[in-house]
């Protein structure tokens, strides 16, 4: 199989270039990440992130044949013989397939990604009913891989002002949490023209999420709450 991989080492290269690798697949190679690791065995200057190799850490997100995804859970069987790999779009490249995620995590932290509760903590834990817990399904599973936000045109144009789909999904995750008491402040934080309302429901985020989550629906629910509290 042939891999064309984006290469860029800012210390050595004047500009990025594409490099081809021919890798011999074995029977035990199931995922694209296996092929990438083979390519790295040929050329150890090739750099990419990976850790869990099973779709739970979110570190190996990249652009695979034009679509963001996780090589560790992308089946080789579903790919053509020639695969082009590029770093996540719109982010500063640190080296090869590794991008600088600072902006992405800044936006994530800006929504206060933790439960805020002003009451004294109970002896053991704050309980939820099964129905309340149900509300968090489809939200808590996010692994912060950034596939969605870096596929979102609104995030490309305004990464410093627009929270992006990943951050907004998490914003709703805490708004929807029965143990959280900060809903009003959370909504205030998203009411300006940029932080949430740069989303134009393009739905690229839904298209790429490797965990099958739906940030657009979460954004819609936040909009509903904003409307409800203002009428």
């Amino acid at each position: 199989m042939k891999l064309s991989i984006y290469r860029y080492n800012p210390e050595k290269d004047a500009r990025p270039y594409m490099q081809d690798y021919e890798v011999q697949l074995e029977h035990s190679d199931r995922m694209l990440l296996d092929a990438l690791i083979k390519a790295k065995a040929q050329d150890d200057s090739l750099s990419f992130r990976r850790s869990c190799r099973e779709g739970v850490c979110g570190s190996d997100a990249m652009n695979i044949n034009g679509k963001n995804g996780l090589p560790c859970i992308t089946k080789l069987a579903d790919l053509p013989q020639h695969v082009t790999l590029r770093p996540l779009p719109g982010q500063p490249v640190v080296r090869d397939l590794i991008v600088d995620m600072t902006q992405f995590f800044k936006q994530y932290h800006s929504i206060q990604p933790y439960v805020v509760n002003h009451e004294a903590p109970p002896e053991r834990e704050r309980l939820q009913s099964p129905a309340q817990r149900e509300e968090l399904n489809g939200l808590y599973e996010c692994i912060l891989c950034a596939c969605c936000s870096t596929a979102c045109p609104s995030f490309w144009w305004n990464p410093d002002k627009f929270v992006g789909p990943a951050g907004l999904l998490q914003a709703y995750r805490f708004i929807a949490d029965s143990r959280d008491q900060d809903t009003a402040a959370r909504l205030d934080n998203l009411e300006d023209p940029y932080r949430l309302f740069r989303c134009h429901s393009i739905m690229n985020c839904v298209d790429v999420c490797p965990k099958g989550l739906n940030p657009t629906r979460a954004i819609g629910k936040i909009k509903d709450l904003l409307v409800k509290r203002s009428v």
Binding site: Q107, S154, W157, N158, K161, E191, Y194, F197, R198, L226
Partner: protein, 115 residues
């Protein structure tokens, strides 16, 4: 992250978003009404057309439609400018131009309707 106020001609994203939806609904209703009137009535001639627009309700409805269209346009064009026109000075200039153009169109509509 503190929220830096940027010159956008907008203070609250929710208001714009709601306005865009409400104005879209008004335009849709007007379109349906006009279609019904045109298809259900006698064949269109200049006299029929003129008669239609001398009626007060039609004038008011059309004005409402035009105002909705203008507001809708303003939110939409400003959205585009917010995304793509990065230098604040340039954006401000383009926004002022947009507003003036829209105001001119609205004035013209008024003039046509009540002439």
């Amino acid at each position: 992250m503190s929220v830096h106020r940027v010159v956008t001609g907008s203070r609250n994203g929710l208001t714009d978003w709601l306005a865009q939806r409400v104005t879209a609904a008004i335009m849709a209703v007007y379109t349906v009404i006009v279609l019904i009137v045109l298809l259900g009535g006698p064949p269109i001639s200049y006299a029929v057309w003129k008669d239609l627009f001398t009626q007060g309700w039609m004038r008011v409805a059309t004005l409402l439609f035009a105002a909705s269209l203008c507001w809708h346009m303003w939110v939409g064009v400003r959205n585009i400018l917010m995304d793509y026109a990065k230098p604040e000075g340039l954006r401000l200039a383009l926004q002022v131009m947009t507003l003036l153009t829209i105001a001119a169109y609205l004035g013209w509509t008024l003039h046509i309707l009540w002439r």
